[in-house]
């Protein structure tokens, strides 16, 4: 009996994503796109402050964050994340209705790894989440 294939047999633990958006329907859409077919574990946060609370209680493999949110917007969240030691390196995918070059440049400058303009298809969400988390082979 060979033991050499154990690494292939043992299932990898699902990647954990944090979805941050104040819109309930957006969170629900991301969850259904990523949880069942994508195999991710999805947690939700309502705004940047709750996202920081959850990120600090993580760990997460990727954060998907909106821009326009109450109390703490997505850009402020990313700025805070990048200066908070324990979570500074977490990959961030920003999703927004804002599509001007300057919006995207501002997000990049703050340390957003990938910026997607809404609406985003479920296929694209899964593809980019997989790339960002290393969940599939390139």
């Amino acid at each position: 009996m060979s033991h050499g294939n154990d690494a292939h047999i043992r299932p990898r633990p699902p990647k954990r994503l944090l979805v941050v958006d104040d819109a309930a329907l957006v969170r629900a859409y991301y969850r259904q796109a990523l949880e069942q077919p994508g195999g991710y574990t999805v947690d939700e946060a309502f705004n940047g402050i709750e996202a920081l609370e959850k990120a600090l209680s993580g760990p997460y493999d990727l954060i998907l964050v909106d821009v326009n949110m109450p109390k703490m917007d997505g850009l402020t969240f990313v700025r805070t994340l990048r200066t908070t030691e324990e979570i500074a390196c977490l990959p961030v995918m920003m999703t927004s209705t804002l599509n001007r070059d300057k919006d995207i440049a501002a997000a990049r400058a703050l340390g957003v790894n990938l910026y997607l303009v809404k609406p985003i298809s479920a296929d694209d969400l899964r593809l980019f989440a997989a790339i960002m988390t290393g969940a599939t082979e390139p």
Binding site: A24, A45, F46, I49, E50, L52, L56, K71, M72
Partner: protein, 290 residues
């Protein structure tokens, strides 16, 4: 269980909460408070909603949800949150926060203090005194540096009867049930077999003051606070009121000072003013040092 009624009552209480009503209720509570419930809690939530439908006398779950959303007094929200989160006060309630205070918050607070400088802790609201006395006892027993700093504990409430009870410091078995025997022996007297009273020296060392958290001038007079315990109060206020109180608390804190909320509460629904801090025992909120 809703029983069939006989005579005179045209609208018996609804016996079920539909899926859409459940989803709407959960989203409302999540958006409002941060409390998150899923299908696993369905039975529990349904029971609470139906109880409130019956108590308030509204005709349907749908009407109840409308009442919840548009009741400007906030009373119904208070009722339903109370029924979702067991809210009663007793000694060493949510003691993980006192552990956080002694293990993480105060060590950071005293870093910026000269030896001998005061540490000021504010219990708002203090209700009948269990919280401020708990803080005092916990620090005396568990904070390694307790002998090196003077600690001032201020305890405020809007309810003067609660304040009178707090000053008297007399409690029943339910209030003290979480306390270990040696704490009871050290800090309480037994005037009767079923009553425990805080020893006079401890009672005398806490400042009990009347305070309306909505009164900006009253709140503004409180300055230089290092830690505020504000547990299970803001969750009941409407959006504007709790933002105002959070703003007043921010002003009362020294730069770098902390706010501890109740375990069901999150600053994410209240105010953008504070930084989130995660310590080993708890998440708390901090007025940025600069």
């Amino acid at each position: 269980m809703a029983m069939p009624r006989t005579g005179g009552d045209p609208q018996p209480a609804p016996a079920t909460v539909t899926d859409e009503e459940f989803a709407r209720f959960c989203e409302f509570i999540y958006r409002r408070t941060g409390l998150s419930y899923g299908e696993a809690k369905r039975y529990f939530i349904d029971r609470r909603i139906l109880e409130r439908v019956e108590r308030t006398g509204v005709s349907s779950v749908q009407s109840y949800l409308a009442l919840l959303r548009f009741d400007t007094t906030g009373r119904e929200l208070e009722e339903i949150i109370n029924s979702l989160t067991v809210n009663e006060t007793y000694f060493w309630r949510e003691e993980y926060q006192f552990a956080c205070l002694a293990n993480s918050i105060l060590p950071e607070v005293v870093c910026t203090k000269r030896r001998g400088e005061r540490v000021r802790i504010w219990s708002l609201p203090c209700s009948t005194g269990e919280e401020p006395y708990s803080i005092a006892m916990w620090l005396l027993e568990n904070w390694a540096e307790v002998d090196q700093y003077d600690v001032e504990i201020i305890a405020s409430d809007i309810d003067t009867q609660a304040l009178t009870a707090a000053r008297r410091g007399l409690y029943d078995a339910r209030s003290v049930q979480r306390l270990p025997k040696w704490v009871l022996d050290r800090y309480f007297e037994r005037p009767t077999s079923d009553r425990w009273q805080i020893v006079e020296s401890l009672r005398g060392s806490i400042d009990f003051t009347h305070m309306n958290a909505f009164d900006r001038a009253q709140m503004a007079a409180m300055e230089g606070i290092d830690v505020i315990f504000c547990r299970n109060m803001l969750i009941y206020f409407d959006d504007v009121s709790r933002r105002e109180v959070a703003d007043s608390m921010y002003s009362s804190l020294r730069p770098g000072g902390f706010v501890c909320l109740g375990h069901s509460e999150s600053m994410s629904r209240i105010s953008p003013l504070f930084a989130v801090r995660r310590f080993a025992d708890a998440i708390v909120y901090q007025r940025p040092a600069r």
